[in-house]
């Protein structure tokens, strides 16, 4: 058999191709497994899904600050929404001011919807996802941001 013969699949070259092909398939599968390793299934951070109690305890038009969870829960006629009270600048806890929120550390100011109206804060205060747990309690998931203006209707 010379190199000038037209290429045809005979038994021997099929064997070569199959063995090389399966070798690279094995390599690829193993690599896929290896590259999954740096992504842990669960991060060991604390739980940031907060149960805030039954929705009936918040009246329409109310706002409730949860200091430990660093968020403020609002209820208006359209439903519930929660705004994080962690400043987007350096992570201080913002205080409620006349026209919205004010950060005591570097003077960032936000309006009542969380948008920046002054100071060094680079981003508006995030709105957090509100949902309900199986037992009916309101749940705020501080890991999930939602677009401004999103309301949760009970």
């Amino acid at each position: 058999m010379s190199r000038l013969d037209p290429p045809r699949i005979n038994r021997r070259s099929f064997l070569s191709l199959a063995s090389l092909g399966s070798f690279f398939a094995a390599l690829g599968t193993a690599a896929a497994g290896i590259f999954r390793l740096p992504n842990p299934a669960v991060l060991p951070g604390p739980v940031r899904r907060f149960k805030l109690g039954p929705p009936e305890q918040f009246s329409a038009g109310s706002e409730t600050a949860f200091g430990e969870q660093n968020l403020v829960l609002f209820r208006d006629d359209d439903g519930f929404y929660a705004i994080s009270s962690t400043c987007t600048h350096l992570g201080c806890t913002v205080a409620r001011s006349k026209d919205g929120f004010a950060c005591p550390c570097h003077g960032s100011r936000f309006d009542s919807k969380g948008s920046v109206i002054g100071g060094p804060a680079p981003r508006p205060l995030p709105w957090l996802e509100v949902s309900r747990a199986a037992n009916g309690d309101l749940v705020v998931n501080a890991d999930n941001e939602v677009p401004e203006g999103t309301r949760y209707r009970v």
């Binding site: 070569s16 094995a26 599968t29 497994g33 299934a41 060991p44 604390p46 747990a133 199986a134 037992n135």
Partner: protein
């Protein structure tokens, strides 16, 4: 001619196909057949069946098949139990099979999983993703999963057991009462109060399985099983235990087990403590004195029984005196009893009970002396005291009449060691004379001056007393090694 590389191509093909097969199999096993994923798919089906209203549909829509965990840094817990126990806080899941079922009772209303996790109460390996690993009753995990009925032992971490409703913690309440009824404090210290024969139980619940000897324990080799077996028969797990069989029913053994498991000084952030727990800590620093009878019941009764009879103790290898017997309390002075209680009886199993030893308050010791003496009668007049004794004649009398039980030089044998320093200092002449004369009713000590047949005359007793007073001097000249008795108390457990 055959191509020599052919065999290598076959080899590569077979090896690579095997590797691909293995890797694909592993990927399927890990990503699809994993126990928790199977469980979550089952739960998703249950959610689908129960999605009859808006909220049900919302919960179904939000349900994702992924690992769920409650991570509470303050308690050092990363609990993935909720990965399989998905319905734990869903009130609709009361009628489904485990592991999907709702947590029983209303405990989770006040102890949400997000804030408390699971292992703070149930123990076990929280990070595990299979039930076998979560149960962790092998040698690799210190605190294996508690059986459900024993979980109440953990309530005490944050609560004062006495302030919790007893119907919520039936075993713990029973165990607490039994601990006092069975007079466990006679030998074991708790909160600095109690005897010194057995180990202190203050942190017994914190013990890991590696601190207990499991060789003669039937599996499972867990601390709770060890405690349970130990309460049924201490000798079965600790061969040289001095502890008497507590004669308890199975349920009482369970209650005592829960009680000792609850003795765990866990470091929990203050924000987790119930207000009554803080009050309990304050109360422990400022204890209210018990009455004499309570003290006797909790700290004396295990060895002395009801105190009116003398008892031969096989494990102590000596008589335990009848300390409420009428012949003792009508002869012993208050000072004598007080010295014996506060300083103990060296050479015997009787420990010291003073504030710095057994932890009894001075008013409690006074109270228990009052209780012991409640059967005392007025002592008759004494004539011996005016006589002068001859210690040499006393020695021959002692060898003939006393040494058989009290040992040569009063070192003790069947009878108590009357040569010990506390006895010598505290026993008045009058007390010794009365005891020799009248004996000890309810014990092996006979009366040596009965009216019908006096064995010793008044002068003999005076001689004997003179000899007894020289005992300390003789002992003082001997090497200390002689003071060591063979039945020196060793800890209840190795």
């Amino acid at each position: 001619m055959r191509d020599p590389s052919r065999i290598y191509r076959w080899l590569l093909l077979v090896a690579s196909l095997l590797t691909v097969g293995y890797l694909v199999g592993a990927a399927v096993r890990e990503n699809y057949r994993a126990q928790w994923k199977v469980v979550q798919r089952q739960y998703q089906d249950i959610l689908r069946q129960k999605a009859t209203d808006d909220r049900g549909r919302e919960l179904l829509a939000k349900f994702r098949i992924d690992m769920k965990q409650a991570s509470i840094p303050a308690l050092g817990a990363v609990d993935r139990c909720v990965t399989c126990h998905n319905g734990i806080d869903d009130p609709r899941m009361t009628d489904v099979e485990q592991p999907h079922r709702t947590h029983p009772g209303h405990i989770l209303d006040k102890h949400p999983v997000d804030r408390f996790g699971c292992t703070v109460c149930h123990h076990g390996q929280g990070a595990a993703l299979t039930f076998r690993e979560a149960k962790a009753d092998d040698v690799f995990w210190d605190y294996p999963l508690l059986p459900p009925e024993m979980t109440e032992a953990a309530c005490v971490t944050c609560h004062d057991a006495e302030k919790l409703p007893p119907d919520q913690i039936p075993l713990l309440t029973a165990g607490m009462t039994l601990y006092q009824e069975k007079s466990c404090g006679s030998c074991h210290k708790l909160g600095g109060r109690g005897g010194a024969l057995g180990p202190a139980l203050d942190n017994e619940g914190a013990k890991t399985k590696h601190q207990l000897i499991m060789t003669s324990l039937k599996p499972p080799h867990t601390t709770w099983n060890w405690q349970l077996a130990h309460f049924r028969d201490p000798g079965s797990v600790v061969p040289d235990s001095l502890m008497r069989n507590p004669t308890v029913t199975r349920r009482q053994a369970l209650a005592l087990t829960v009680y000792v498991l609850s003795q765990w000084k866990r470091d929990v952030p203050e924000s987790y403590l119930a207000p009554d727990k803080i009050e309990q800590k304050y109360r422990a620093l400022h204890p209210t004195p018990l009455t004499g009878e309570q003290v006797y019941q909790q700290y004396c009764a295990a060895c002395h029984g009801n105190g009116t009879y003398s008892r031969w103790d096989k494990k102590f290898n000596r008589f335990v005196p009848a300390i409420r017997g009428v012949s003792l309390v009508s002869t012993a002075t208050r000072e004598y009893l007080q010295a014996n209680i506060e300083q103990g009886r060296p050479g015997t199993q009787m420990p010291a009970w003073g504030p710095h030893a057994g932890g009894l308050l001075p008013e409690e010791i006074a109270g228990v002396i009052e209780y012991l003496r409640s059967g005392a009668s007025a002592p008759p007049a004494m004539t011996v005291l005016t006589m002068r004794g001859d210690p040499n004649h006393g020695l021959s009398l002692f060898l003939r009449n006393c040494a058989g039980c009290h040992g040569m030089n009063g070192r003790g044998g069947l009878g108590p060691e009357i040569g010990n320093p506390v006895f010598r200092r505290a026993a008045s002449d009058e007390f010794i004379i009365r005891t020799i004369r009248n004996g000890r009713i309810g014990s092996a000590m006979p009366a040596f001056q009965r009216k019908e047949a006096p064995a010793l005359g008044d002068q003999d007793i005076a001689d004997l007393l003179a000899f007894l007073r020289t005992l300390g001097e003789q002992r003082g000249q001997k090497p200390m090694a002689q003071n060591v008795t063979t039945s020196a108390p060793s800890g209840g457990r190795p």
